[in-house]
Amino acid sequence: MDLAVMGEYLPRFGEAFLLTLRIGWAGIALSLLIGLAAAFIRHFKIPLLSGLMAGYIELFRNTPLLVQLFFIYFGLPKLGFTVSPELCGAVGLGLLGGSYMAESFRSGLDAVPPAQSLSALSLGMTRRQLFVHVVLPQAFAISTPSVVANVIFLLKETSVFSAISLMDLMFTAKDLIGLYYDTTECLVLLVLFYIVMLLPVSLLGRKLEKKFEFGRSGT
């Protein structure tokens, strides 16, 4: 392993790392928004929309991100929706993640025992107070571990972005290996950057899981 070579490659990997992070976190933010909206729609069984969301969730949970990205990036332009690779990556990740987040949030909402709502109402709380002060905090605590697991899953899924010609970490590694054959150096850098990206979130997830354990003993 040649440290000088690795030093030389470092800036290119750094740039790719930032690009991956930027698109990854944009996609995750989008997935949280989509997931929350879909979970509320499903939980309150809003007619029509609820069925639509169920279809969306099943479709995106049962197909690989790579296929979704190919469809959005190469297929949709034929209908007149052309998207840049960056936007495609973020939207694709957001749609995939949204379907997973929706299930996490919904299982949190559904897991709050009915006695909690009944007790709150009998104490004279309004529906709004009930939802904001009783249901949401408990649902949030219950769904946090699986939301964090989804975040880690989505960060790992960013590794397919190179398929739509985004110059992410995988793209950079493959490109440099093809050009100069410094395979070992490139693979080590690749692994190190992914560890930097994933380890903090993974550790944070474990901490949060302990902190929110009360959410699961509620029943």
Partner: protein, 229 residues
């Protein structure tokens, strides 16, 4: 009607044996996932049982293996095995063999964690009651413990199959000609005659994957409900 089909680029599917080729491409990916699952189930089961024993050495290395496999994206693992093995051991692995190694390693890790969790969740009273009834160890495991473990891990194990199918779509990135690659070839070959083929072909691939995974997801959910209820 016919013009809509052409406008959306679905017409290429009816040319020659294009539809058949797409299906065969899907089968390439499905075959890799099935072989990986068949390898992962027994190995993961064994590792899971070993991990549930209170042996510090085994637990440490098992845990290390699990964490390393879990934190790395499967795409990175594929690159490490496919490019790295050539460099490290001087042997040239085919893309197929590399992907089988990676997905088996990953499947084994996931499976072992499921089995470990299930074994540890069986209450001590189950063993003690069996002993009190005069059952020997073999009978206890055969009739009391293992059936409960299987019941508990079955939904997630079936779910692992769909995860495996979805993950094997990555093999196109190391050059295996599977459904996405075949799709690209079809689009390329019909560039002039069906300019909109990209929509029709990739929509079809999308649907094919859904049709492959959705029934398995439903089965997993049904079994989970049954196990809980």
């Amino acid at each position: 009607m016919e013009s809509i089909i052409t406008d959306l680029g679905f017409d290429v599917l009816f040319k020659g044996n294009n539809a058949m080729r797409l299906l065969e491409g899907l089968l390439v990916a499905l075959r890799i996932s099935m072989i990986a699952v068949l390898i992962s189930l027994p190995l993961g089961g064994l590792l899971g049982v070993l991990m549930s024993l209170k042996r510090k050495g085994i637990r440490f290395f098992g845990r290390l293996y699990l964490e390393i496999i879990r934190i790395m994206p499967q795409m990175v693992l594929l690159f490490i095995v496919y490019f790295g093995a050539t460099r490290a051991f001087g042997l040239k692995l085919s893309p197929e063999l590399s992907s089988l190694i990676v997905f088996s390693l990953w499947g084994t890790a996931e499976m072992s964690d499921l089995v470990r969790g299930a074994v540890q969740s069986i209450p001590r009273a189950q063993y003690e009651s069996s002993a009190a009834l005069g059952m020997n160890t073999a009978k206890t495991y055969c009739f009391v413990i293992v059936p409960q473990i299987i019941r508990r891990i079955l939904p997630n194990t079936i779910n692992l199959i769909t995860r495996m199918i979805k993950t094997t779509s990555l093999v196109m990135m190391i050059g295996i000609v599977e459904v996405l690659k075949v799709g690209q070839q079809i689009i390329e070959a019909n560039r002039k005659s069906s300019p909109n083929a990209a929509f029709g072909v990739f929509a079809t691939v999308f649907l094919l994957y859904f049709l492959a995974c959705y029934p398995i997801s439903l089965l997993s959910r049904y079994l989970e409900k049954k196990a809980n209820g």
